[in-house]
């Protein structure tokens, strides 16, 4: 019998790792991820989880230890945030290039400087190009579900890629929400035993991590990219199987009341729920609006996004960080790029807000909708709009 409990996203993710029967976790504490390694340590100490808990001395070593444990075929899990994700940056590329199916939760945190332990997406955007499968959670249920799902997809022999599960620092990591926890038997049915086909073992000695001279490096990268694109099929299959067993079906792009909507807002992460409330208020006063929650970030869901925005006149994309000197918010740039080839496409407006823990209220999203419509109609000299910044924002020009 599944049960409904109040859990922080951090504890939900830890519980998912426990139910997935991870073998190894190597993690370094950093706000706002700390509740994850703490809960895992507690589980190991109590015998609730049989796993090697490696209290590494830095995030770089955390993900490096994960490379080692994945290489010998252990189901491996870790978590980090902000500066930690940055410190392990080179290891992040290595994990995907070496095709180790590590699952890593990121409690999204703003990047220094100045120091900020609070939530935004600058840490996630800094790892866009690293080759991991990446999803963004909207709430704590997704934090649990997508962590379990991540093992299913990453470890699939047709995939073998690491998976990053993002959820907002503090607004999800430290907030208790109701989460439906399944039966262990259901998780066991969903998750096959991990059989890494290239496990290091003296019985069949293999070399992992040979270096790539110019003659061959390009081919390795193309092979990696093609494999990442192909993983989409298993991503979707994994969500289908998840829904069949647990009753909750997930899609790469979630459309909320978008049918016939002339203006759409696109958000990622926990703000999607806030924005949905704004959409409801606007709709109740007769406005033609809807929301798109972008759940699958990498590989980018081109087909689903193009389908989701069909018919809309305006698409307002909300980013939770600045891509300095760039063409707009990072997610907005990618959305624009995805729609570039479409004969008919909405006017895309870029908004940035919610940085470093700055909250976005329902009213703020109502403003985003109003101002987004205004910019689409009248244009704006700024490359992106901001919300919630004190002082008039001008000078974000090309």
């Amino acid at each position: 019998m599944s049960k409904r409990v109040g859990l922080e996203a951090s504890h939900a993710a830890a519980e998912a790792a426990r139910m997935a029967d991870i073998d190894v976790t190597a993690a370094y504490p950093i706000t706002p991820q700390t509740h994850i390694p703490e809960r895992l340590a507690e589980m190991v100490a109590n015998g609730e989880l049989e796993a090697a808990y490696i209290p590494v001395e830095s995030e770089h070593s955390a993900l490096s230890a994960c490379l080692g444990s994945a290489a010998v075929g252990a189901r491996t899990f870790t978590a980090t945030a902000g500066q930690g994700l940055e410190l392990m940056h080179e290891v992040v590329y290595v994990a995907s290039s070496m095709r180790y199916p590590i699952v890593m939760v990121v409690a999204n945190r703003a990047l220094s400087a100045p120091l900020s332990v609070w939530g935004d997406h600058s840490d996630a955007m800094a790892v866009r190009d690293t080759g991991w499968i990446q999803v963004f959670c909207q709430n704590n249920q997704e934090a649990f579900d997508l962590t379990v799902w991540a093992f299913r997809v990453g470890e699939d022999p047709k995939v073998l890629f690491p998976v990053m599960v993002h959820f907002d620092g503090f607004s999800l990591s430290h907030v208790t929400e109701p989460v439906i926890l399944p039966e262990q038997e259901e998780v066991d049915r969903f998750l096959p035993k991990f059989r890494y086909p290239f496990a290091l073992n003296p019985d069949h000695p293999m070399t992992h991590g040979a270096f790539g001279p110019p003659d061959i490096y390009s081919e390795t990268k193309v092979a990696q990219e093609i494999a990442l694109r192909k993983s989409k099929a298993v991503i979707l299959q994994g969500w289908q199987e998840f829904g069949d067993i647990f009753g909750r079906y997930y899609e790469p792009v979630e459309s909320y009341k978008t049918d016939g909507a002339r203006l759409l807002v696109l958000t990622m992460g926990s703000f999607s729920e806030t924005a949905k409330a704004a959409v409801d208020i606007k709709k109740s006063s007769g406005e033609s609006v809807g929301l798109i929650n972008l759940r699958l970030w990498r590989p980018f869901p081109f087909k689903e996004l193009r389908q989701a925005v069909k018919g809309a006149e305006t698409l307002v994309v909300f980013d939770r960080c600045i891509s300095f000197g760039g063409p707009g918010g990072p997610v907005c740039s990618e959305v624009r790029s995805a729609l570039y080839g479409e004969k008919k496409r909405p006017a895309v407006v870029s908004f940035v807000g919610g940085m470093g823990g700055r909250d976005m209220s329902v009213e703020d999203f109502e403003y985003v909708i109003d101002r987004g419509r205004e910019v689409a109609e009248k244009g704006s000299p700024e490359l992106f709009e901001t919300v919630g910044i004190r002082g008039e924002v001008t000078g974000i020009r090309g």
């Binding site: 290039s97 070496m98 180790y100 290239f198 992992h208 003659d215 081919e219 390795t220 092979a223 093609i226």
Partner: protein
Amino acid sequence: MAKKKLKAASELTWKDLEIGNIVKEAGSASARRTGDWRTQRPILDKKKCIKCALCWLNCPDVAIKPPDKEGYYVADLDYCKGCGICAEICPVDAITMVEEEEK
């Protein structure tokens, strides 16, 4: 033992690569004959040799092989880079390094 003919890096397509670029065949680098680096080669005087195996033990290139039927340790010229350590270390000066000649 015949050495397998392996494709060079420049002959491989992206499809030929293993997942994660893992190399499954142990010791496959022995297909590379590094002996052509050599500018001098070791010559063994079997009359002096006491078959102590020090040359075999101290060869960085794994070029000096385990003893032949007569018990002598002979350098495999496919791999010997001609460093001269064997000649320097031989306790009875049974090995001399001579310049490689142009053929």
